[in-house]
Symmetry: C3
Subunit: 352 residues, 3 copies
């Protein structure tokens, strides 16, 4: 139950730097590699000769060579050649539109005729010199929508991340959720509170006092198929909060690209983009390490929640105000999935 | 195929000393914890909010707090509160009668209206100063009845435990099996034999010569649902055997509480209660360590037997005289299970 | 989908030297052990008493003693005795014809009335003083026919074993495949090429120059049910190739006995027999180690290929000229399997 006519993050460029990468995305087993002119290519991970996974092979001269008997697969899914064989009649492999952009490799797992790179969301932080980005990848055994729920309801920070970004005041401020087209926004503003450890570190990283009251904000933006970009930050109290001048605040964007592997497993690309001290690589590393530690705290919870839901398939869950972000995001997804399955599918999945 | 309207051992108090414990019992996923006034509570291990396992949370002020978004669950299955929410309409969790007694936590997984703590078997050795107890817990992948069979036919000691409690003479004496109501008793008395290593250790522990002939006995008592208490001991030969005066014997009760997790897995609480030198903690530890080693020898056999039976579902097993204890115990269980499923269930499972 | 009325390699003698061996072959769970007069016996790995695996027991006086309660199983499948029991009425276990020959234990998993030791292939290299043999065993999760394909198409050496026995020239020479009765032969002769590392080592082992051009050959012989014996070798170029005099060549037989465990897993007995320097045990060990390393390179490919085929059950594979050896071998197997299932089965599986 996921949209397929849309762009998902498939991998990061470093994952295909040395050799092909086999990865299942939305149930499709795909091999990603660098084809001619360094372009990213994606074809079915199945050798038409005897079914070996092409991802066990290697790249030669821009083509993928099967590591079993040397069939040479082109990025168009056609066999280019094979030692001692005429290959013209060989069956074609499926290919997948793949684009390298913003530091990620994006893939379109559905109807290839509809794949339009212009539909990839613009990510200003990924192209501007004023921003720095660091992130990582987790493989998690849960439905991708459980991760969307997680990110669209940050009250869990108080409990799951009590020692870093959680604080009791999150619970005490109700979030507001709005829907604009396919985008769902859940926002929470907390005023005149003490910053928790992670934000004290960020304040120091921006050369600001870390032991004074702040205004804190969390603005979670879901957009299809499963991107959650969260504006987070703190400003010294009374300086305008979210709208405070840069010299009074430390803010960033939590980046979450959630790619379904199967119905109950995901590739979770997480990271943080910040627009203060963007050239401080040590700060980038410190933040990434901290974020990685924090986000790893969600893994057991999500996997055990998934298992509990599979064990209790008929049990209804609550939909509280704090769940509104996740609930509305699921509604958007349901509309998109229904549209994909209708006789005249409309291309709405990736329109921002 | 296990009785559910009965008391099972769920855990030992140390397992819930620091945090909640999630444990599946008779197919029910339950979280155990210390509620108000230190009382033991047991509720479904499922947060009514979003399905997270409550056992990942913590106890606060006698209530269980969900570790995901802070829902506060009461021991009555009702949500006490949740930050920023009105909880009156929240669905109730199932609760399970749970009682701490005799050094164990007991749970009633079936019809809660029938749960009566008076039905828990009396265990004299657990309340008397003249007895000491030490034990442990194994998780084993087998039907609980295979473990009952194991314990009601101790001829296996000769083969599985050859180096500790096994001896050829066990095979040579036929056991006698009697049924009284729901209790099944299999007894074996061996006269004028040399004690095996474990019993030599026990004789020394009771300040008795360990290199002389003894009379040895094993009296296995099954009572529903799956308790097997085994009176075992040796007395210097000719002093009256089982009835010998205390100064001539070393005897104890092997304690086995077998709790089904699923149809093919169990929580096996094993231990030994003795009434000699009860205040010698070093002896208790030595015995527990020895028993743990001995009992671990059964694990592979039981799990591989279970696998063999699953692979050969239509193959009939033999019911020999030595199997009579297990066979009779299964008959008692069948009657109880049938009774539970009848329109007018009678409460017989735990009556001793 | 494997023949059952045929001889398979079950194990090597060292595997039953100290205790019984439980092994599943063609879906049959069998225990192998040394019975009276050191003869090999094979019976169902299931104790008729309570279903314990007999392979957890021990051998006493030529009989198999169950390690649970001491039932004594004879090699005829009849219970010999059991402590305190009359065993005459006990149900019989299935037995399997088992023969020790050529350094292997062979088993006939199908209709026992048809088992004739004379049908075991003659292996000259296993009985002659002029030959030496070294080998090993792998457990692999793949259909046994994928391994036959692998061995009947050695073009994979160029890709999977590039650093040892692979070389580009293998690809450049088309193999010829012939079928004679149930035997399939795929042969390839490469002339005037430089020997790859493994063969340079073998040339040195036969006191021959290793830095000169050679003629190289590979003659793969499949015979039912799943034996692939491959004559391989190199001779100094121009000395007659395969037919060169012994002083100009290093040659050997790659030995592959593939025993189905289940439909998708095998016991793979691999080795090499050579007729140069047969008494040089160090050379035998060096070759075995090298071959083990080389053959282990196939494991991941075969297991991932198997997984890919299970994931794509309807996808047809190509049958190229290089695949002809495997394709013809599968045809032979299909005929044999069909014959086994016909009302009047003919015994053809093992006729060489």
């Amino acid at each position: 139950m996921y949209p397929k006519n849309t762009w998902y993050v498939a991998c990061t460029p470093d994952e295909i730097a040395d050799k092909p990468l086999g990865r299942q995305i939305c149930g499709e087993k795909i091999v990603f590699y660098r084809a001619a002119e360094n372009r990213v290519a994606a074809v079915e991970d199945f050798c038409p000769h005897r079914g070996a996974p092409l991802s066990l092979g290697y790249v030669d001269n821009g083509n993928l060579v099967c590591g079993y008997h040397g069939l040479v697969m082109g990025c168009d899914g056609k066999t280019v050649e094979m030692p001692g064989q005429r290959v013209r009649g060989f069956p074609c492999n499926k290919t997948y539109a793949a684009v390298e952009r913003y530091g990620f490799v994006w893939v379109w797992p559905g109807d290839q005729d509809l794949a339009d790179p212009a539909l990839i969301h613009h990510l200003e932080w990924a192209v501007s010199d004023e921003w720095a980005y660091g992130g990582g990848l987790f493989h998690i055994h849960c439905d991708y929508r459980l991760m969307i729920d997680n990110l669209m309801d940050l009250t869990h920070e108080t409990y799951v991340h009590a020692s870093s970004i959680g604080q009791k005041e999150i619970d005490e401020v109700a979030p507001t959720t709005t829907v604009e087209g396919h985008e769902v926004v859940t926002a929470r503003h907390m005023e005149n509170i003490m910053p928790p450890p992670f934000w004290r570190m960020a304040l120091r990283g921006n050369d600001l006092a870390d032991d004074v009251p702040v205004d804190r904000w969390q603005i979670c933006r879901f957009s299809p198929p499963s991107h959650v970009l969260i504006e987070v930050g703190v400003a010294h109290a009374g300086k305008g909060g979210y709208h405070a001048a840069p010299e009074f605040k430390a803010s960033s964007i939590v980046v979450d690209f959630i790619t379904p592997e199967t119905e109950t497993s995901i590739w979770y690309f997480w990271g943080m983009a910040r627009n203060f001290n963007p050239r401080d690589q040590t700060l980038t590393d410190t933040i990434r390490e901290g974020q990685g530690q924090i986000f790893s705290e969600d893994l057991e919870m999500l996997e055990r929640q998934q298992q509990n839901l599979l064990d209790h398939p008929h049990r209804a869950l609550l939909k509280l105000n704090i769940d509104s972000g996740g609930v509305q995001s699921r509604r958007v997804l349901e509309r998109i999935i229904a549209s994909e399955r209708s006789p005249e599918p409309q291309l709405i999945a990736s329109a921002q």
